[in-house]
Each structure stands twice: as structure tokens, then as C-alpha cells.
Symmetry: C2
């Protein structure tokens, strides 16, 4: 007997039991099939990495920048102007205020927080570390942002995300009543994991709301060129908006080539006001005699200019679009008929955010894991790993080949349906 | 009339005036010759960089390590085991306790101090930043070490250097009477700039003397494979000595490929006890998803194994030995007859340390600069840039071609002799 799909919560107990039995049987088969699949992290696939394989023999004997400097030697702390020029337009930062650094924007964000703790930031009276401080954390959000706060003992305050960015009314109230708030994590374009794009209205509010002089937006523009459709957001010039609002030093813009070329050998960027960049340079003068400039030269040779960058990202899109479509298809086919989940179909970025029935995310992820399907731990998208509703699951569809992804998604759906029927039955007992 | 060379201080006033006139005339000629030479920094020459030009097309399509991992992607925070194995023997650190990281050991040292300030180190009760702390600084020493302390407000206590390392009696007294001392900068092999090599006796004392549980030796082994002669120091296994002395966590070992391959695109290393490495890994887990692993693969392919590393360093020696000989020759010819300076002829490393007459270093460097010869600012080898005797000048002979170096050294000698006769005459007025 097959149970006819209907929202699980609407089923009478007998039908729910039948559905549960069906999902349990499907789950047993899944487990018996001995899968070993991984959709935990936002990693590019091997096919995507192949797009940048020219880097593996570049710079092909060359070692000078356009100004004739020998890039093999010490120096050049700001990074190659040619590379900064390629990314300046997409990031809406003047080349002079955009620095190209070493591998990984995570490192630059971490180090910026560390320097703020030790030295304070322009406009602040004290180092952040001389007081108890807090960060605003739109949720669901990026677990590695939260790890930085946790490691440094920075209190995290969750803020709900809407379709156009974090909830401004909540932020306004928090900023007005809690002067320990010194920072806020923002992924303004194709948020991790909700895919939301901040509207200009939200961005304008974030740079305008009254806040401490040393309050900083950590504007992690990780996915600004990572489109999955032709529907593209108008780039937001956050530095100009901040200057207009009289708070030019509020945004710190971060980005990297991690998901453009090679995550294992990339270039990170920081952009900000002149005062913030001078502060960053003063800090890094004690830390480094310059980033890996040859790797920056490789990137200049590979990407050439901003059109080259755009063309390169179209190749990523061609690989990724079918994978994101597969997520949507799987959830439409398996979850929607049972009213078993709500998810987004993002226009870019690396994730799909799925909400299952409250209280079922952890159990579903555990069931999937026991069946050989590794999914980002439930709760990871919330500060301290604690999703108060236990509902959110982050789907990272980019890494596995399409066929494996489909198998993993189907198995995950089975795990979710089983977890949900278990929970609903338990409620009725 | 030419003044006959004799120690300047022994000349009668008339002879001194004649010598001064002679040096002043030579200096005017020097100035008129319009030089633009630079011996300020310990930079490898273009000829040395050429030794590693294979890196400019490596890894030549390859992107997997020996274990088959795709190095283009995220991960691998400890660095390539193959590369760590090449340096493990020279650094006397077991591969498991030696991490290969990104460009520049300066960054790793800086970040280690920052993490100690924010979190404390194993064995410590408080983060270093919760108290006023001090570092022991053997002098003359490396200015960038001192800059890290200065930037973080760490008090620096100068300690005299002997031929076999820093003065242990001074250190013993300081450690016994000042519990704010949490760190000490050490360049154990071919010290910057004195060229001194720490004896095993000194090393043993440094890991044995009673000190705070969170006292750390910053064992910057920057020049451990940078020999200039066949007379090579027996490598010191500082981790084993520290363990024997019951202080296994005291040394933190740093090194890099900056002066092995390319300073602008290198690999840094940290080695330490298991407890320290676990501490470092816990910190860097929040900071990075892994170093540039492709650059590490390039280095493995270039250097191959520890014999390959040794052979590569012999090529550097062949280029550098004549330059260090030129320094010795110039000072013997121009300074020695007048008793105008004392210097060392190091068996390795990147510097010669020259002591001129007390009170004359700043003036000599200034005169050289005005004649178009840039020398490391006098005082740079001391904490806060203050050489109490104003006597020490760091000579960095590696970067310029040999002919330019000879010209720069000759001009510098003229500037020194002029500064010294000026000073001696002023004393007699």
C-alpha cells in the first residue's frame, strides 16, 4: 500500500503511520545500498577547478609586473595593481583602496578582527578587546564567521534574514539599546546559505543607522560574481552609501578568488575607506613584507581583465546551474507533495537553505549520515551551532558530480521524510 | 700631503685635522659622482632568484600530493608532508610537529604573538594581553622582530650578544627578577646581524633557566641552511634539549623558504612540541582553511629532498661568498688601518655587523645617504631604534651586483672615516 502524498501534518494518524512505514522501508533500502556521499561544504567540483588549470604552468617564466618590479623578491604589500583593477569594478572599490593579499579572505577577516581586538579601529576610543563586545549575526549564516567570534569570545546576537537582507527593524532596536555591538557579518550578495541579496534600501539602512563610531560591517562579498542566472542584482556601492550617510569607515569589504580559481591557492581582497586601509596597512606592516605576488601575476594572466573574469564565471555557471536545478527538482518531487520542507532557488552563490519541520533537522541529518550521506551539521548555520527551531539544513550541491548529487539528495529527502513522520507520530502519542 | 694611517684616536690633533681634510675631499668627490646604491635590506639578488626560476612554470600541470589529494581545493591546514619532510632534518623537528604554511615566517611569528596576547599559550594562566609583558631582545638584532613588539606594546629588554649567543648571566638575572618576561627573540644560527651561532651550552641554558610556564623562545631559524663556508655548526635539537630540561613547550621554531627560493612567493614553517602545535592548529582553524598547497607542491618539485635542498643552497653560497669577502676586504683596506671599525666575517646568513666609533653610526649613515648610498638606518638593530652607543651599522651585501657592492662599501668607508674624524676633532675642541 502506498500512502497518497499530502502535507504530513494534515494526515490522520493511520495515514501518518502508513507513510512512516513507507519511509522507514525506503530508508532501510537506502542504508543497505552502502553510499558514501558528501554534500557538506561549499567546495568547487574538480570540473570547476579544471577551468583554471592554466594557473598550473603560469606565470610561464614571467616575473615582473606592469611597472617592471621583480615580483620574486620582497615587497609590494598592497598587491598587484593589475589584479586589483580586475576586481575593483565588481567590488565597487577604487583600486587605491582595494588591497590584494594572500590565500583566503577568511584569514583577512580573522586577522582584521584580531587587530581590532588588539588595537581598536579608526574612530574607536579603545581596542575592542578592552571591553565585552558583540557582533550581529544574520541567521541562517556562515559557520566560519561564527567560529571567528566564538574563538575570540565575541558574543553573537542572531538577527533574522528576510528576502532583501537582514531585518532592519531588529537591527535598529539592537544598535540603539546595546552599545557592546561592534560588528556585523554580512554576505550581501547571494547570502550563505539563504541566497538572499541585500537590497539597496537595506544596505543604506545598515550604513546609516546610529551606531558606535567603531562599529564595522564585515561586508563579505564572497559571491559577488558567482551568478547562476541572468537575473543579476545591481551592484551596491557600499562605500559611497556609507560616505553619503556620514559613516565612511563603517564597511570593510572582503572577497577572494577561492571560488573563481583555486580555493587551495587563491588571492584575497580587502577594500574600505582610506582611513580603514591606512589602519590595515599599519597593522600589516608588522605582519608581512608582502603577499605572494607571483600567484597574483598568475591570476592577472589567467583572468586578464574584468570581461575575462565575467567570461570565466560563465563557465562556472554552466557547470553549477544543473546542480542547483537538481536540488530544486529533488525537493519539488520528494518534499513538496508532503509539505515537508521550504527552500529557496538562489540566483547565485553556493548554497540552498532548506527548512524542514521544526525539531527535525538534527535527526534528518543524523539519519542521512548513518546512510552514508554527509550533510552540513544541522545548527551550523546559527551562532554556537544552535538553531532554536532545529529546522535549517544547508545544502551544498557544488562538489559532487551531478549523478552523485542526485543520489545524495534523494537519500536526504528520504531521511527528512522519515524524521518528520517520526516527530509527528511522537507528538500524537 | 697624505696622512699616514694609524688609529684615528691616537693621532695628534694636527694629523687628525689632516686626515679629516683628506676624508672630506674624498667625500666631496664621492658625492659628486652621483651614486644611487642600496645595501639596506637582506634581499637575495636577481642572480640568486634565477636559481629558482623553475618555480615559474611548476607544478607543470600536476596538482596532487603523494596521497592523491587534489591540492587545488580547500583543506590541508598542516601543509604538504613531502615538503615538511625536506625541512624536518635541517630544523630538527619531527615531520608531525612541523607545519608548512603560507608566504613568510614573519607572518607566522606575528600571528603567534597576536594569538598569545589574545588567548595565552599552553601552561599560561592568562592571555598575555591581560598583563604588561616584556620580551628579551639580544642586540644587535632583527628590526622586524622589534617592530612586532613595538606594534603590540610589548616592552623590549636588550640583552648583549656574545660570540656564542646571548649573554646567559644577564638573562638568568632578568628572568629571576622580572616575571613580566614572556618571550625572547633568538636567531640561533648566523644571527641577524652579528652572524653569531648559539652554542649548545647557550641553547641548553635558554631552555633550562627557571622562567614563567608561558615563557617562549621565538627560535627564528631563518638562516639554518644558509652557509657561506664549509665550517658548519652542529645542528641543535632545541626541542629535545627543552624536553630534557623539563620545559618541552618553551621553544617555538620558525623558518621559511624566503631566502631559499623566492621571498615574494615562499613557504613558512612552524615547529614545536605537540602541545604548542595543537594550540597553533586550534588558533589557525578559525583563521584559515589551509595554506597555498600548490606553491608547496612547486617547492617539493624544485627541491625534491634534503640533498636537493643542500645542493640548492650551495648555489646560493657560490654567489654570496664573493660578496661577503668584498665586505671584509673593503673594511680591512679602508677601516682597519685607521682603527675605524670592528666587524665580523660570518660563516653564513645575510649580514655583517659593523661597530664604528661610539657616537658615529648615525652620522656615517647620514653622510652615506647624502652621497647616494642607502644603508640600514643606524639604530635599527636595537629595540625602539635606539643604539645606546650609536655604534652599530648593519651591512646587507647580498642584493647589489658585486661591482656595485664594492663601490657602495668604499663610499660607506669614506663616510665612516669622515664621521669619525669629525667626532674626534669635536671632542678635542
Amino acid at each position: 500500500m502506498t500512502t497518497a502524498p499530502a502535507p504530513l501534518a494534515d494526515l490522520d494518524t493511520e495515514a501518518l503511520r502508513a507513510a512512516h512505514a513507507e519511509f522507514a522501508r525506503a530508508y532501510d533500502e537506502l542504508k543497505a545500498s552502502g553510499l558514501a556521499l558528501d554534500i557538506t561544504r561549499g567546495k568547487p567540483s574538480a570540473e570547476q577547478l579544471d577551468l583554471s588549470n592554466d594557473l598550473l604552468h603560469l606565470p610561464d617564466g614571467a616575473y615582473r609586473d606592469a611597472a617592471g618590479t621583480d615580483l620574486r623578491n620582497y615587497g609590494g604589500p598592497n598587491g598587484l595593481p593589475e589584479l586589483r583593477a580586475i576586481f575593483a569594478d565588481a567590488l565597487r572599490v577604487p583600486v587605491a583602496q582595494l588591497l590584494a593579499l594572500g590565500n583566503s579572505s577568511l584569514t583577512v577577516m580573522h586577522d582584521t578582527v584580531a587587530q581590532a581586538l588588539l588595537h581598536g579601529v579608526p574612530g574607536g576610543e579603545l581596542p575592542w578587546g578592552h571591553q565585552s563586545i558583540s557582533f550581529l549575526c544574520p541567521v541562517p549564516g556562515y559557520d566560519r564567521h561564527f567560529t571567528i567570534c566564538e574563538r575570540f569570545g565575541i558574543r553573537m546576537i542572531a538577527v533574522p534574514m528576510n528576502d532583501d537582507g537582514p531585518d532592519i527593524a531588529t537591527i535598529e532596536t539592537l544598535l540603539a539599546t546595546d552599545d557592546s555591538i561592534k560588528g556585523m557579518w554580512c554576505v550581501p550578495v547571494y547570502s550563505n546559505p539563504s541566497g538572499a541579496v541585500y537590497s539597496e534600501e537595506v544596505a543604506r539602512a545598515l550604513v546609516s543607522l546610529p551606531a558606535a563610531a567603531d562599529f564595522r560591517l564585515f561586508w563579505d562579498n564572497a559571491y559577488v560574481v558567482h551568478h547562476l542566472s541572468d537575473e543579476r542584482p545591481e551592484p551596491i556601492d557600499i562605500l559611497a552609501l556609507a560616505a553619503e550617510a556620514g559613516n565612511p569607515d563603517r564597511p570593510l569589504i572582503f572577497a577572494s578568488t577561492s571560488k573563481v580559481t583555486f580555493p587551495g591557492a587563491g588571492v584575497a581582497f580587502i577594500g574600505a575607506s582610506e582611513a580603514n586601509i591606512a589602519w590595515f596597512q599599519r597593522n600589516s606592516a608588522a605582519q608581512s613584507i608582502g603577499p605572494d605576488k607571483l600567484n597574483q601575476l598568475r591570476h592577472v594572466q589567467l583572468l586578464r581583465d574584468q570581461d575575462g573574469l565575467a567570461a570565466h564565471m560563465e563557465k562556472h555557471r554552466a557547470i553549477l546551474e544543473p546542480k542547483f536545478a537538481a536540488v530544486d527538482e529533488a525537493f519539488r518531487a520528494r518534499l513538496e507533495p508532503w509539505g515537508a520542507g521550504a527552500w529557496n532557488a538562489p540566483h547565485g552563490g553556493y548554497f540552498v537553505s532548506l527548512d524542514v519541520l521544526d525539531g527535525c533537522a538534527k535527526r534528518a541529518v543524523q539519519l542521512a549520515k548513518e546512510a552514508g550521506i554527509a550533510v552540513t551539521p544541522a545548527g551550523a548555520t546559527f551562532p554556537y551551532g544552535e538553531d532554536p527551531r532545529d529546522a535549517n539544513i544547508r545544502i551544498a550541491p557544488t562538489f559532487p558530480p551531478l549523478a552523485e548529487l542526485r543520489t545524495a539528495l534523494d537519500g536526504l529527502c528520504t531521511a527528512i521524510l522519515l524524521a518528520e513522520t517520526e516527530a509527528l507520530l511522537a507528538e500524537r502519542n
